[in-house]
Amino acid sequence: MTDFDALIAAELRLAVPVTAAPDWDAVLRAAVPRRAPRRRVVLGAVALAAAVGVATALAAGLGHRFSSWLSGEPGLPAPTGLQHGFDVRNRAAYAGFPPGTKLRLLTSMRAGGTTFSLLGFRNGDAYCLRLVRADRPGLVGRNECLRAAELSDVPALVANDVSFSVGDPAQNVTGVYGFADDDTRSMVIRRQRGTDVVPVRNNVFLSLYAQPAGSVQHHPLPNPVLVVSARSVKGRTTVVPYVGGGGIGGIVTGGRPVTGPAYFGPAPRTALPGPSKVEAPIAKPTIAWLKHHEPRGKPLPHVAFGHPVFGRVVQPDPDDPDALGIAVGERGALCEYEFTPLMRSSGGGGCGPWFPEGALRLGLWSSGPIAHVDGVAADGIAHVTAFLASGRIVQGALKDNVFMVSFPEAELPGRLVGYDHRNRVAGIVELQANRVMQACPKPAFTTPVNRLPAPKPWERIDLATLEVNGSPILGRTPAEVEAALGRPAVYRPHDPSFRYGGTLPSTMGLQVTFAKHGSKTVARHLYYTSPSLVDAKLGHILRVDPRVLEQRIERTYGATYARRIGYGAQPGLGCTAAIGLRSSAGGLSIGVDPYRPSRPYLELTNGVLP
């Protein structure tokens, strides 16, 4: 695969994130004819009644807990340069804050050789934070606003997680910032590797971490934030709701990390809060004003896709500059375009059927510690409410059929419910749960080692030399590999790879993957799942728990290898360990597919090749 291919593959994986979890049992149930239909169980009224009680408790403001902000003047006036940069950016932005907004400098910090400034301001009912490079104050920065209700029952809350690229050579700066109340003295930021304790100043905190940005060939490990805790002046530590949006891809169960190797798996199924039944469905849901080209909201600026025939931009919440452009697109599709604060153009969007699943259509969903969910509601929807698994109920903003609602993403899953003018449930959309950190399963070996078939030539390796059956395989052509290991069960010439021991991923014991190296095609990866795999010194290495195996490899081959990622220590990567060659960028990884723990795997890579 060329770098260009790799770029496309990586980008496409980002383009279509998969949040659905596999459910083989459901496939089997559906495949087997049922004897009799099952009765549906309707939930909802009980959950609604329980949740309404909570809602009333959320109306309070910041009270006396955020004294710096009560005065309206937390910190110091922003230096002229930072204020001017914001003003210029704000004027040029399509979704801007009110002109004349005055910033306050709350705290600053150096990371990656660059100073970052955390600025604060009020915007109507919202409390806003802006993190920006001090040397580039006119850039968009990272901006987030919270309401008092979101801070009402927690000592602190992460407002945003951030990622900047700075310096030359480039450094990646990642981190979190947020609010903390008067009783919180410091914040404990637990990362994948290491813990950072940062002070609370002016009721805010900022934690940043810098590391080399890496290159196409070299990929430094990310070090995402996993858990955020508030430490009170009396020494009490409280874990605060947090879900990382910077590639971590999940949430720590119960706010606490799993002890030992872990991966991010699907969240356990829980009963969703809020109404589950549409009482008054809207027949033929539509947006009449848009179809009739009524000029509501603001004009839609130029957008990069969808070829809108007619569109307008609506800002549903007067205290939140976030806006949504909606348009009639090509072939009558309904298109949405997101306009986030301080961006000069639409940040993204999509086109599709108008209301394929009822009176609400979810639109953009900016993932992060605070989820901003928006979309469109059909004519007849009078208000939109989010019911969250945390028990909280959040009233969404709704104007000209565009809704927006924000909440900590850690409070998912939930339901978004649209009500008609008679307060009847007219539309429901489910908000999916976050992936949850789970312990890696122990491998389940069904066949004892002494009953395994004798290893074949391709099942004899030597980790000291990376040779197979006494021959170097990595870097060899398909013909040379076949000469050394025998004829494969499958040869896939267009996606050059050999499979040994079986034709399918589920049955094969080894896959040799080839890649172009100059004018030649040579072996780049060896991927083993064969239980009969034998190493010259360690024996049946795929019949050993990976936790034990990584230790044995270190003990036996310490001069050759160094551990890069402990088994299951990087949950975003799954139940895997990376062990690198000391002499080059290559190495091996071992691990277990959590959904198939009976077949651990070993992958060998020669890092010398491209």
Partner: protein, 162 residues
């Protein structure tokens, strides 16, 4: 080399399902423009695969046979929806805002057949012959389709870089 088979076994289908679930859903999302419909299409495809597993004759890899069912199910789901173009719904449902959409936006703008071929190549990791079977094309047409998609993407990316 292909092993002759008298129908697929359920456990083999399960292995294909588990190992390829995300790729199946991604490609189905590209076709249906809707993450939920895509997931349903994948589930329905495997229900159909189990029920029709006796029809698998082993002339090609099992994944390819399943992929064809998945793509057909997704197309069937898409036909019941408004035929609209644009970014896949999943991007809209949980997208990243801002300036990092380059390649994704360009891929989204490719013609449908090129887009399907690109996703089958990169998500499903299928070879040209299997893509041809899945999309009912000649292998040479797949090669040409992917080549055209590459050229378009390269051109747009280079234009962006300038």
């Amino acid at each position: 080399m292909v092993v002759k088979a008298e129908g697929a076994r359920v456990e083999e289908l399960e292995a294909v399902y588990r190992s390829g679930f995300e790729s199946f859903v991604r490609v189905a999302t590209v076709i249906t423009h809707d993450a939920e419909a895509a997931r349903d299409a994948v589930q329905a495809a495997f229900v159909a695969a189990i029920r029709g597993r006796g029809g698998y004759r082993g002339e090609s890899a099992l994944e390819g046979w399943v992929w064809r069912i998945v793509v057909n199910e997704a197309r069937r789901a898409a036909r019941t929806r408004l035929d609209a173009d644009g970014l896949p719904e999943a991007v809209a449902a949980n997208g990243h805002s801002g300036d990092d959409l380059g390649v994704r936006r360009y891929v989204a703008a490719l013609p449908q057949r090129q887009r399907e071929a690109v996703f089958l190549r990169y998500f499903a990791d299928l070879d040209y012959r299997t893509i041809a079977r899945v999309l009912d094309l000649e292998p040479g047409t797949v090669s040409a389709t992917l080549s055209a998609a590459h050229q378009t993407l390269r051109k747009r990316l280079e234009a962006t870089a300038r």
